[in-house]
């Protein structure tokens, strides 16, 4: 089942396009990480999916409906914006009351239990919370709304490593407990690796790679060996990137099949390496052989 389907999605701000021709499908029931360089259109995509922004071109369908089209649609999609905004003048208790007033499916027990477990004082004003606590409060509101899909836009960007770890762990538990789909953007691949089972690499509005994290890791190989033209590689090996020195060639290939050529030394790839390779090599075509000194 698809939870998010975008077709040729574009968004123009005054003169600049923040997103152009983005086509993407995300399956339900997964925690999907959305990575990409600054300006790739991650936030714009999530904003459109939540209904905060209207697309200029293309179509998008989220949980089977048009984002922001009505109360039912809004109830299905939770969204925690970048910087996790909360009302500084309202107490935690009042935020939960806000959630209960504005959401028919609000889970009061879940919300109060989470706040209790986080060790937060319900009487405290949200303006006095630390960045991590604020993010936790925003996440609590997002989860207690009981959406089908939760969209998180760089929720941990402003947090210190410890708060980040706690936040993500907490998110994992909530996902496991309530079985909701999550799409989460981040710069920090390490964080995504901890929580995501699916990954989308978005570069300049285009999906460079999409898939299950485990499969991606299993099918990508870093090959190094004597210098050779990448055109001579077997057809089933898709070259992601290639580097050449005078004597050596290093290529990153994607293939389902095992690497049989004995000339190659096959290296293991971390998820971060994989993402960075895709981000720094915009074209999928095999690059021409050139010497890098």
């Amino acid at each position: 089942m698809t939870v998010l389907r975008a077709q040729g999605l574009g968004k123009k701000y005054r003169r600049n396009w923040a997103l152009t021709g983005c086509t993407l499908e995300i399956e339900a029931g997964h925690v999907t990480g959305l990575v990409g360089p600054n300006g790739a259109g991650k936030s714009t995509l999530l904003n459109i999916a939540s209904g905060m922004l209207e697309p200029t071109t293309g179509t998008i369908e989220v949980c089977g409906g048009v984002p922001g089209s009505g109360p039912e649609q809004l109830a299905k999609v939770g969204y925690v914006a970048q910087n996790t905004p909360v009302y500084p003048g309202l107490s935690i208790e009042e935020h939960l009351r806000l959630g209960a007033h504005l959401n028919p499916g609000w889970d009061t027990a879940l919300a109060t239990k989470r706040i209790e477990r986080l060790g937060l004082d319900p009487k405290q004003h949200a303006g006095k919370l630390s960045g991590g606590q604020r993010a936790q409060l925003a996440l609590t509101i997002g989860i207690a709304k009981r959406p089908e899909l939760l969209l998180l836009d760089e929720p941990v960007a402003a947090l210190d490593p410890l708060a980040r770890r706690e936040f993500l762990q907490d998110l994992m538990e909530a996902v496991a407990e309530h079985g909701l789909s999550v799409v989460m953007s981040s710069h920090l691949v390490n964080d995504l690796e901890r929580v995501c089972d699916h990954l989308v690499v978005l570069v300049a509005s285009q999906v460079r790679v999409i898939g299950e994290v485990e499969t991606l890791l299993a099918t990508h190989h870093r090959l190094s060996g004597p210098r050779r033209d990448v055109e001579t590689l077997p057809a089933d090996q898709q070259v992601v990137s290639a580097k050449h020195t005078d004597r050596q060639t290093t290529v990153l290939v994607r293939t389902e099949a095992p690497i049989l050529d004995p000339a190659w030394t096959v290296g293991q790839l971390s998820l971060e390496d994989l993402v960075l390779e895709y981000m720094s090599n915009p074209a999928t075509a095999r690059p021409a052989l050139e010497v890098l000194r």
């Binding site: 939540s50 209904g51 209207e54 009505g70 109360p71 905004p85 309202l90 504005l102 709304k145």
Partner: protein
């Protein structure tokens, strides 16, 4: 949603209402002493202050209630929190305005009621006077500080602030624009719209030495216009001399230029003035007074209220159109 809208609005709302209670106490103490007097010249300061208060209230409502209503959310990013609960933006805006507009109208209504009551002896005296100096409740400045017109101003100011906030997105800028736009409307309406809400009455009288009130000349001593006594308790729009064909004459014809007293000279002997003005009558010149009579006070108040409520409705429609595209 009403709970949230009230929770966010209660501090600015209660501040204004606390101020109104303060004004109310002052008026309640001083008001009863005004009844039955024939000279209110010692009340100038308080009288002026009550009128000022009624013009400041819409400004405060527009600037401190209306403008920040949306911009504070946009600046703090909390709009993305509240717009992602299971409630549409339209309902959110409906509730915000549904709390703000009635509160603004009640605040203005209460203040206007208190001031109208306080000033009623002064207004009653003014309506019997014929000198141009005394301000009747129909005169442009006082009219907007009496009865029901301020209710319309308050509703308009609030929606104007909200609309400015939606368009400009920044609190301080929206506040400044709201203030300027509100001031412009409150100046333009009495000058250019209110006089014509109902067709004014005209009265043409002979100019005699008993009804003439003023002779105005220019620097070289040419008499440009004269005025006659106004009817009591009216709002005079024009008091001008017309020739037999009904055209306004200014400066006055030559045959009276010489016999009129020049500026800075002694008042003329009674007889010479009489013969001078008699020439005007003989040549068919008359004085035409254009005015709104005192009995039009309430009809004009209702029309003014309706006008401002219509403007508010227009701005509200605009707000709802724009809120969809806001992000």
């Amino acid at each position: 949603m009403t709970w949230l809208a009230w929770r966010q609005f209660r501090f600015p709302a209660l501040s204004v209402f606390a101020g109104l209670i303060g004004i109310g106490v002052v008026l309640a103490i001083t008001g009863p002493k005004l009844v039955g007097r024939t000279d209110y010249s010692d009340q100038d300061v308080l009288y002026g202050a009550t009128i000022l208060a009624l013009y400041l209230l819409p400004a405060v409502i527009g600037v401190f209630w209306g403008a920040p209503m949306i911009t504070r959310e946009l600046e703090a990013g909390t709009h993305s929190l509240v717009w992602n609960q299971s409630i549409t933006r339209k309902r959110w805006l409906t509730t915000k305005l549904g709390v703000g507009v009635p509160a603004a109208m009640v605040a203005a209504g209460l203040l206007s009621l208190a001031v109208s009551w306080w000033a009623s002896p002064i207004d009653a005296l003014a309506s019997t006077q014929t000198e141009p100096g005394m301000l009747t409740r129909l005169s442009p400045v006082v009219f907007g500080a009496r009865a029901i017109a301020p209710i319309g101003y308050a509703a308009f100011a609030l929606v104007l602030g909200v609309a400015a906030g939606i368009v400009l997105r920044r609190t301080v800028v929206a506040m400044a624009v709201t203030l300027v736009a509100l001031a412009a409307v409150l100046i333009v309406v009495p000058l250019l719209v209110r006089p014509y809400l109902l067709p004014p009455l005209e009265e043409t009288v002979s100019i005699t030495s008993s009804n003439i009130t003023n002779i105005t000349g220019n620097q070289s001593g040419v008499v440009e216009e004269i005025g006659v006594q106004n009817p009591a308790g009216v709002w005079v729009l024009a008091n001008e001399t017309v020739d037999p064909a009904g055209n306004v004459v200014s400066p006055l014809p030559d045959f009276v230029q010489n016999c009129m007293p020049k500026p800075g000279t002694q008042p003329p002997p009674h007889g010479s003035m009489q013969t001078c003005l008699a020439q005007l009558d003989a040549h068919g010149y008359h004085q035409r007074v254009t005015y709104q009579p005192g009995s039009r006070f309430w009809p004009l108040q209702w029309l003014e209220l309706a006008l401002f409520l219509a403007l508010s409705a227009l701005l509200t429609w605009f707000c709802f159109r724009r809120i969809r595209h806001l992000s």
